[in-house]
């Protein structure tokens, strides 16, 4: 029983970082209707920038982190403004290809600059000390990830509920033409959505960096976040979070009880099963395609 609880706790902790990636993915999917393959690398570049600020420019950890988050915001806005917006009458395949292209460019630059060595980000919270919650151990870093993810989810919720920009974003996502007729600058709103998404992703990246840092570090969280978003239906923020926790927990249960070897791919088996039952995810609103 303790064993099970322990496994589920670790699953939830891992699920939190997937949830952040999934949230970023869903935000962008709702705004630009593109499954964003560059989500991981939008976080990777700021994370390595934070590392550079700390080591080459001798900044404090907190300055570096805030610098990274601000840079992520700008990077997200820039990618939307400079590339995604410029696509000529894009279809879904074209947009997927554009984001894959962006992803390869950013990954190429990061690995060109930093090589393939594994590094560790200095971090105020150690990943080796742990606290006792009831009967289960949870490492302080995992706890921090969990709390941060919750804080970000709540603030996103409040943002979409009460801020003018958040409401404008929701309007743009629901009906772009109508939103523009109501005087919303939909292009600008989309651009800011990309910025926010990159920032959310960077938070996940910064929380992963103290464990391991290398150019491919964001691949796994990105794919799992994507899987989680797909389970949740691609357009639902609570669905994405729910999906992320499912992926995290199932992965750990599978790793704990069945086989450690295939732990990494079990998420894809889960999504294939989910998609076979509900082809557009668990939380998607049903829609009928126009012919």
């Amino acid at each position: 029983m303790i064993d099970l609880l322990q496994i589920i706790t670790s699953g939830v902790a891992v699920g939190s970082s997937y949830a952040l990636m999934a949230l970023g993915m869903v935000l962008i999917y709702k705004a630009s209707e593109v499954p964003n393959f560059v989500q991981g690398e939008m976080a990777l570049l700021p994370v390595f920038m934070a590392y550079m600020l700390i080591y080459s420019y001798k900044q404090s950890v907190f300055t570096a982190f805030f610098g990274a988050l601000a840079f992520a915001m700008l990077l997200g806005c820039f990618l939307e403004f400079a590339v995604v917006r410029r696509a000529k009458n894009p279809n879904i395949l074209g947009l997927i290809i554009i984001t894959i292209g962006l992803e390869m460019i950013l990954l190429g630059f990061v690995s060109w600059k930093f090589g393939a060595d594994q590094r560790v980000m200095p971090f105020p919270v150690s990943s080796y000390s742990s606290v006792m919650l009831g009967d289960v151990y949870i490492s302080t870093l995992d706890l921090l990830t969990l709390v941060t993810a919750l804080v970000i989810m709540i603030s996103l919720f409040l943002f979409f509920r009460f801020s003018k920009l958040g409401v404008a974003m929701k309007a743009t996502q629901q009906n772009e033409t109508a939103a523009r007729l109501m005087g919303i600058r939909t292009h600008r709103v989309k651009m800011i959505t990309w910025g926010i998404s990159a920032t959310v992703g960077t938070v996940a990246g910064l929380l992963l960096a103290p464990v391991i840092m290398e150019p491919y570090m964001m691949w796994n969280p990105m794919l799992k976040g994507f899987a989680a978003a797909v389970i949740g239906g691609m357009t639902s923020l609570p669905g994405a979070v729910f999906g992320a926790y499912i992926v995290g927990i199932v992965e750990h249960l599978f790793g704990g009880y069945v086989s450690m070897d295939y732990k990494a791919v079990v998420a894809f088996a889960v999504i294939v099963i989910v998609l076979c039952i509900k082809p557009s995810g668990l939380f998607a609103r049903h829609y009928v395609k126009k012919v």
Binding site: I100, F268, I271, C276
Partner: protein
């Protein structure tokens, strides 16, 4: 200009006597190519031809049927592993093993096509991507297939003759490639090909007109996987050694890049894309030894980047190609060719 007036004009393999002439000239050139070119160039030609097979198959799926696949490295891996293990474990001769490997890959393609019936867009992308990752993970864990250590290819014997050099292998690859390309070209002109195109353009309308979605979507996946499987089997004998790491997700993306750069949904486009980008890929692998560019890159890396990471420059190049093609010429090389042709035909108007 060249309007088609009858069905038989549309399905003809060659549109005019001039094309027949060029086609046979090309065959002759390819036949005598190894006699003038060095050994490395023959190896290069083998590599290019194998990528070409995958891309032609991928184009049948992505370009003609409109289903995205980010998992072709999975089929490629299945083909490579199936060929070698059929030959070593079951003592199959090479050609039957290659065909069986293609069929096995095709069967997996059929299986992947089943969930794909209900999926589209991002859902299909993640499902195929997950398939590719799963295949390499599982292969890497099977002891019989060499696990992480990989497998060595056995001796290649065809009808009693042992093929040892790249040169001898070249003619085999050439024959198979030609056969598969002509087959793909012909299939796009048949009922099957028209069904694929109808599904791509409007799948609901196609279903209403009596196109069997179940049959043709899974057929497209199976066919495309068959091409990738055969190519994988050949690839195993070009490298003579395979391991799971070879078939990463980036390989799938690389195949997609070639198809997209050439121009999805045309026959010659992806072929041109495969040839150019495979060539570029081989050049980029030793970019530092290219005169001028190599020296400049070395200096740039030393002052701003790290020297160890230069090999990853191909990601930057391929990523840029993908984006530039999508932004400025969504039809790829084929689109550029069409525009050029039109310009010169109507010049000076």
């Amino acid at each position: 200009m060249d309007m088609k007036r009858s069905y038989y004009e549309d399905v003809r393999l060659f549109s005019s006597g001039v094309t027949v002439f060029w086609f046979f000239l090309m065959i002759a050139a390819l036949f005598f190519f190894p006699l003038v070119a060095g050994n490395y160039y023959v190896y290069m030609a083998n590599y290019i031809a194998i990528n070409l097979i995958v891309v032609v198959g991928l184009n049948l799926l992505v370009g003609y049927t409109g289903q995205i696949s980010l998992g072709h490295a999975g089929f490629y891996a299945i083909g490579a592993y199936a060929t070698i293990s059929l030959m070593t474990l079951a003592n199959f001769p090479f050609l039957p093993a290659l065909i069986c490997a293609g069929l096995i890959a095709g069967a997996f393609g059929f299986l992947l096509g089943l969930p794909a019936l209900r999926l589209e867009g991002p859902y299909l992308a993640i499902a195929t991507l997950g398939f590719g990752l799963t295949v390499t993970t599982i292969i890497g864990r099977i002891e019989m297939l060499g696990g992480r250590q990989g497998l060595h290819a056995p001796e290649l014997i065809i009808m009693g003759a042992t093929l040892e050099t790249d040169l001898e292998f070249y003619y085999l690859v050439l024959a198979i490639t030609l056969l598969l390309v002509v087959f793909a070209r012909n299939i796009t002109k048949t009922k099957v090909g028209r069904a694929f195109i109808a599904i791509r353009d409007a799948h609901i309308a196609a279903e209403t007109m009596g196109v069997n979605l179940l049959l043709y979507k899974t057929l497209a996946f199976a066919l495309s996987a068959f091409y990738a499987g055969v190519a994988g089997g050949l690839y195993a004998f070009v490298l003579r050694f395979i391991e799971p790491e070879l078939f990463s997700m980036f390989l799938s993306i690389f195949f997609l890049t070639m198809a997209v750069a050439g121009g999805l949904g045309s026959m010659m486009g992806p072929i041109a894309g495969a040839i150019l980008l495979s060539f570029l890929d081989l050049q980029l692998r030793n970019i530092l030894s290219i005169p001028y560019i190599g020296a400049w890159l070395r200096e740039l890396s030393a002052s701003y980047f790290s020297l160890t990471g230069v090999s990853n420059i191909q990601y930057i190049v391929f990523g840029s190609i993908l984006i530039l093609i999508m932004l400025f010429e969504p039809l790829g090389l084929y689109g550029i060719w069409i525009r050029m042709k039109k310009y010169w035909k109507t010049w000076p108007f």
